[in-house]
Every structure is written in structure tokens, then in C-alpha cells.
Symmetry: C2
Subunit: 316 residues, 2 copies
Amino acid sequence: MFREKIKVLDCTIRDGGLMNNHDFDLRFVREVYKALSEAGIDYMEIGYKNSKRLFSPKEFGKWKFCDDQDIKKAIEGIQSQTKISVMVDVDRVDIEDVLPKSESPVDMVRVATYVKDVDKAIYLANHFAEKGYETSINIMAISRALDNEFNECLMQLERECKTKIVYIVDSFGSLYQETIEFLIKKAKHILKNKEVGMHAHNNQQLAFSNTIEAIIHDANYVDTTIFGLGRAAGNCPTELILGFLKNPKYDIRPILDIISKEFIPLQKKIEWGYFIPYAITGILDEHPRAAIALRESDQKENYRQFYEKLIAEVEE
Amino acid sequence: MFREKIKVLDCTIRDGGLMNNHDFDLRFVREVYKALSEAGIDYMEIGYKNSKRLFSPKEFGKWKFCDDQDIKKAIEGIQSQTKISVMVDVDRVDIEDVLPKSESPVDMVRVATYVKDVDKAIYLANHFAEKGYETSINIMAISRALDNEFNECLMQLERECKTKIVYIVDSFGSLYQETIEFLIKKAKHILKNKEVGMHAHNNQQLAFSNTIEAIIHDANYVDTTIFGLGRAAGNCPTELILGFLKNPKYDIRPILDIISKEFIPLQKKIEWGYFIPYAITGILDEHPRAAIALRESDQKENYRQFYEKLIAEVEE
């Protein structure tokens, strides 16, 4: 009954890092790697490869930079089949920071881009592919992409990009399953020689169902995070996707364990998940930054005023 | 763009009452009725009509019995187009407690039943229809219904029941959208002269998406609760469905207001929503009662042991 091609990429540390300046301690990251390895998860995304000329290591934790030596410390001595992924943003990576694959603990480099920057993303992905890495292109803010530009972007990826995987990213958590079906079908139609992936956000409690919807329409790469930890409302929960997938290589129990031991205590330090301001930005197809700012203010439960302010801005 | 036939039934007080023995105070119920009325919600389900010979009013709050005089106190003086619904369970209602419609503040009586009890449910629904009420039949635990028995149940409802509405109830929050599509299409096919409704539970964060899925396949009645308040993981959030539906008669703002003012404080007194034990019973297609008991024990975060215990019971 199961589709062997489906791969789960857990990006707890990478997307969750957006909520704590990428400052998880080494012990925590090792516990996550151990749990994902025991659960049979295919990939763990451990952070961003950002330029230290653009961002100061004094202001951000080590998983914003992902030096190879830090990754090695996070994984050494742990038995695992789980591959390591890092993400790079167009215009924020120093290309020479990424050594040839043979010298690095990293297996996959994922390039995050907007539709408009796809040329730069293709250049980067082809460069990393030539260095020996698995790669993907992750098209962010897909809800804002115009159909003709998205079409052209996909055709260009099919023609020019060595990457084997193209992800649809619902950055604002604004999409319903009808649109997921439309986008995934389109991508599968144009990308004849590539796999399609889904990265969902949970603003409207749709991250898991939109991921299932993508799987139904033949997406084979799915991003998840443990207990949904990720920016703002977070992501598709790893524990739920493991409950859904039938491949016997996956084991939900190590994930249940680490939620009890690490993520319940973490909830007292970092806030993520379903909160009304995130639902509002999702409904309005807006970036969650205003909602994150609200949650850090003394107006954090003043939902109506927040909604009316956003509506007024949209209508301006 | 909107489908005028879609009706929203908010059952916050009825399904939420399962978490506090139906003991909401009158002020709270009036605030909910006011917010739902201002938001343009079509129906408010205020509780159960249970027999006082079977359940003691000393042990349960008034919304387990829904005396007409209590309903009148909850709604009097509030301007509203929102109709009032009560639920009855097969074998738990004293039929004479339901006065003729002309003497009662109630507009709709919904009959909750398992597939096996559909004959009793038809008798009740026809009786209440004859007394002048709108009625519905709500088929519970639909994930456990055998296909041939569900078919027969639907055919019998079509032939013998005066009700205009038949609900599918995913009591355990175990269904994915493929099954929702299958069940709603089947019901729409057999019930040529009735509307179909969806009542979802949120164990796997699928209540909203399964409700959308039902709407896509022509269900026109949807159950929701404010901030998802309901048994265990709760239900499809009213605020999210109002963000989704395009009918301009609905206004999300009164719902945002009441969440700020009443439901955030309520979270300190009653626990509901996405908790791992509820996800586990959803994944395993089990009643949430063991998970509710776990959450009330000193083992409430011991997920792995809970999972292994349930698995062992299933395999016995």
C-alpha cells in the first residue's frame, strides 16, 4: 500500500530556528538528530548556510551558518541513515562556504527562492550539484506568484536546472487544498523529470492536510517538523505524517518520546503553533511578521484591532 | 462566488459542554449567543436534551438538559437571526420533554445515532418533525461503519425519514480527506432529497480541512465551534470557516472579540485542542476517552507508553 518514493524531510531545527535566532544548543540538536534517525526520517535539515559578512555570529546562533565542524559535532557517534540538509537563500550565501561534498557532512543543499529570483537559484543549485550535492529548489511565497510567471519558472527549471526536486512553499499558510491540488498538478505536468515537494505552514491548521493533498497528487517530498515547531504557526507535524504514511521503515515512537522530553518543556521558552493572529495573517494571505510582532507586544490577545488594522492596510 | 445554501451551525456550547459537564454559566452562554448572532451564524446548538431520569441535574450543568426556560434566559433581549438547535441521543431523551415547536424557543432538533440505531433515530426525527421542528440525523462514529450497513442506513433515511439533513460525524478525528470525499459523495448520491452535513473532530488537525473537503463535494451544513472548543481535540474552528466562506453575511470580528475576551481565559480552566494523546487516538481510530483520562492523570505527557498500551490492546 505504501509509496516507497515518498521522502520525509524534517526541518525542525531550520524552520524552528526562525523563532529563536537559530540558537538551539548542541545537546538539543543531537537529541533531535537521534530521534529522527531512530524514526527512520529520510533527511534532517539542520539550518541555513548564511554569509557571515551579512549576518553577525554574535547576533545569531550557529544554525544560521551551519559550519561543517558544528554539523559534525551534532551528528558524530549517532548511528543513522538520516541524511543532512542545509538551506541557502538567494543572495545570502557565500558560495565558497560550501565545500565539495566529499569534504562535508552535508548531503543536500536546498535553495530557497522567490519566483522572480529563479535565475539566481538555478545558478546556485547547478553549482552545488556540480560540487556533488543533492539539491532542491524551494519556491517560496507561492500564494503570491502570478500564474504566467510560475509557469515560466517551472519550464525554466525543467530546462536549465540540474536539481531533481522542486518544492512548493506556502509561506503564509494561506492556501486551501483546492489550490494545492492545482499547483502540484501543474508542477508535476511541467516537471517531467523531477520530483515535487510540499512545504506547508499551519496558520489555518492546514499544514498536514495540504501535505496529504500534495501526496495525493504525486508529490514525493514532504517537509515536516516535530510537534509542528517552526515559524509562527509552524509546520506539518512530523508525528502526524508518520501516523499517515504506511511505509514500515518509519517509527513514530522516538518522535513521541522527544516531544514529551524536549518539546513540551521548550513550549515554555518559545511560542509557536495555532494562535489567532497567525490565523488572521493566513486568512489574509499576509507574511506573519506583523502577527509575530503582536505576540511579542502587550496587545497580544487584541485580535479584532489587529485584524482591522491589517484589513485597512490591504485596502489602502 | 459563494454558495448561499451553506449553513454554519456553531455547537460550541453543546460539544464544548462535553469537557465541563455542560456547566457553562448563563452569562457565558449569552455572550456566545450574542457573538454568533452578530457574526451571522445560522444556528447555535446550545446543548443536549437528556432525560432527567437517566442523568441527575445535581451532577450535570443545565445544558445537558436544555429546559426551554433556561434557553429563553440565554437568548432573551438579544437581537438575532441565529436559530437555536438542541441535540438528542437515541435512548437518552424523554420524548415528552420536547414541546410542540409553537411553544418552544428551539428551532431545530438534531438526533445523534450510530448506524445500528438508525431505526430509533428515524422514529425520533419524524416525531420531532411532526411537532414542527427542523431536524437532522447525525451519524456518529462513521469511521467504524461498515460500507454495506452505511449504504443501507442512507437508503433507509432517504425512504423513511422526514429530516432534510443528514450529517456525517467523524467522532474519533481519524479520517483523511480521501475518505471524507468518499463518504460525502456516497451520501449525496443516495440522499437525493436531503442536504448533507459534516461534523469533524480535530485530533489530527484535520477538522477544518475535512470540513472544506465536505463543502467541495457539496455538503451544505457544517458544524463549527469557537476557537475549536469541543471534546478532546475539539472541532472545526468557527473563525477559520468564516475566513474561508465568501458569503458577505458572515462577519469574523465578533468571533475574534469573544475569543480574546472569553476563550483565552477559559483555556486556563478547561483543556482542549491539539495534544499528542488525542492525535494518537485519532491515528489509531479510537474513542478519545483513554486520552482524556491520561490528560487528567499524572502521566499526561507520557505519550510513548500511552501509544504502546493502545497498540497492544488493538492487537489483542
